[in-house]
């Protein structure tokens, strides 16, 4: 029975995600809203790989999210009109960026680390804002769209078919979730938990802590840039706000809201965030205010996040 309980959450999550296009209309949503949840869930889970499972807070993951988004958009616009090419290029750009930036910041800890990650995100924001010839500046990168997928005789029109695009995004999400879950159950994943739990002990067990934080940072940023790629595909558009600090902040909020010690927590957080944003912004231009209030209340009353609270209730 224990085995089943371990997998229970995962089975429920996948059952809901796989059937989403069939039920979301009945509860007042629409497919693209579900797609948006899944896209941002990838980003929130990537932040949580570092925050919840390595104990390191990055407040600048929008840097890699944005690199993924621009990498994909620019590739399709100028280099190769293929969604897969854009995906590979975007993830590569974000990952290489994180490798280099990671080398510079990996010795920092706590709030210093968080501050410097914000700073790097803002650098990318201003570059994309100013480099109008390449990025379109404040108007964003336009004049391109995601392209239909074709694999030999099979083709999938993810451009015009919203449901097909949802499943494409879900496949990306599945790959990211499986990759992270696999790593977290491995010896490497356990060294990250060791660093989260007690850095001093980890170091005196022979773990080179800086090196492992760097690896975790790069892996996490790779998934963040994947999220950026599908975010750009979702909108058929990228603008500098993808890089900005408040975008990074949204990811952290989603992770904390859902529960940063739980694997699926950030997905729940992303769902709550996106749905609330969608409902509130249709009611008022000042949707940030009630959303912020909700976040404060959630953190005060459920410090372990929504999923953490549910787990605790069942345990007692």
């Amino acid at each position: 029975m224990k085995k089943f309980q371990d997998w229970q959450g995962t089975i429920i999550v996948w059952a809901l995600l796989l059937t989403m296009p069939f039920w979301i209309g009945h509860i007042g949503g629409y497919t693209t809203l579900g797609t948006r949840v899944v896209v941002l869930a990838v980003a929130a889970m990537s932040v949580n790989f570092l925050l919840g499972f390595t104990g390191v807070l990055s407040f600048g993951h929008a840097a890699y999210f944005g690199l993924g988004a621009y990498g994909a958009g620019l590739t399709i616009k100028y280099l190769a009109a293929s969604s897969m090419a854009g995906l590979v290029a975007g993830v590569l750009l974000g990952t290489v960026g994180a490798m280099l930036i990671g080398l510079m910041i990996v010795r920092l800890r706590g709030v210093y680390f968080a501050m410097v990650t914000i700073a790097f995100g803002q650098i990318f924001y201003f570059v994309s804002f100013r480099w109008v010839n390449l990025t379109g500046g404040d108007d964003g990168l336009t004049g391109w769209t995601r392209m239909p997928l074709s694999l030999g005789p099979l083709s999938l029109d993810i451009l015009h078919d919203e449901t097909a695009f949802y499943y494409f995004v879900l496949a990306c999400f599945g790959a990211a979730a499986a990759g992270m879950a696999l790593l977290l159950r491995s010896p490497f994943g356990r060294t990250l938990l060791a660093i989260r739990e007690n850095e001093r002990r980890a170091r005196f067990l022979g773990i080179p802590v800086d090196q492992h934080i760097w690896m975790s940072f790069v892996i996490s940023a790779a998934f963040a840039s994947l999220a950026g790629v599908v975010y750009a595909y979702l909108n058929n558009f990228v603008d500098p706000r993808a890089f900005r600090w408040d975008q990074s902040g949204d990811f952290v909020i989603m992770a904390v809201l859902g529960g940063m010690r739980s694997f699926w927590g950030p997905l729940i957080g992303a769902a709550i965030f996106v749905v609330l944003q969608d409902k509130l912004s249709s009611l008022t231009d000042y949707w940030m205010t009630p959303l912020g209030l909700f976040f404060v209340l959630a953190v005060v009353f459920f410090p372990r996040g929504v999923l953490g609270m549910l787990k605790r209730r069942r345990a007692t």
């Binding site: 010896p187 356990r190 060294t191 002990r201 690896m215």
Partner: protein, 249 residues
């Protein structure tokens, strides 16, 4: 050749001299105790040996190799493991995971993203051995942070042993323990020393423990070496009695 040798090691914090020109040579298979009044620099000396921070002056050799400039994790890789006076474990992980992490690190698996079944069986068997040795088997699935102080101290020592060290540095292993728990830990240390021939350096406050276990004793006072010798010599040493033992007896 000595297994561990410290040559004239000093550590200054600003104008404070925490460790002042201390030398120590530990033979393979020896159990050496370091004693001294509070603030004598015992733990600072341990921090120098284990690579927590580098010495201001002096040299540290392990197995003939100069390790003065090596970082903590590099020293662990050479076979030096330590415990802490204030328990340093992984509170929100299970006892099993607390031991599995050092077992995997010692097996060179720390960056491995994937384990074969055979490899997993090996590491799990080793964890079971350690659980058995410490009597923690019934608590293997409990979170380490929920256990009693005595059990946490046992985890602390077992984590260091899980690394299969050649030299074990124990910083007050019986700190805050009751009589029965102290007895168990002393028996464990004696077994490691006598049966497994493990080389151990031990900081300890409990004089019964020290005189019972140690082959030789180093006495520190105000950062400097006060005396060095067998338990009998130390017990008879007038300077030591004046500085330290006199106050206790």
């Amino acid at each position: 050749m000595s297994l561990l040798e410290a040559r004239g090691v000093s550590r200054h914090f600003g104008s404070l001299v925490a460790v002042d020109d201390v030398s120590l040579s530990v033979e393979s298979g020896e159990l050496r105790a370091v004693i001294g009044p509070n603030g004598a620099g015992k733990t600072t000396f341990f921090n120098l040996l284990s690579g927590f921070f580098p010495p201001t002056a002096g040299k540290i050799l392990f197995d003939g190799r100069d390790i003065t400039a090596l970082s903590a994790h590099q020293r662990v890789a050479l076979g030096i493991a330590r415990t802490f006076q204030i328990t340093e474990i992984f509170p929100e992980l299970t006892v099993m995971e607390n031991l599995l992490i050092p077992v995997e690190t010692a097996a060179g698996l720390r960056t491995t993203p994937w384990l074969t079944k055979a490899r997993r069986a090996e590491t799990e068997a080793r964890v079971q051995d350690l659980l058995q040795m410490s009597g923690l088997t019934p608590k293997a699935e409990r979170l380490a942070g929920e256990l009693s102080h005595g059990d946490q101290r046992a985890i602390e020592i077992m984590m260091a042993l899980a690394l299969k060290p050649r030299l074990l540095l124990l910083d007050e292993p019986t700190a805050g323990m009751g009589d029965q728990e102290t007895h168990d830990v002393v028996r464990l240390i004696r077994d490691l020393h006598k049966k497994e021939r493990l080389s151990i350096v031990l900081i300890e406050h409990d004089m019964r423990v020290v005189f019972h276990l140690a082959d030789r004793i180093l006495v520190l006072a105000e950062g400097a070496m006060l005396a060095e010798g067998t338990p009998k010599e130390i017990a008879a040493n007038e300077k030591v009695q004046a500085a330290y033992l006199g106050g206790v007896e």
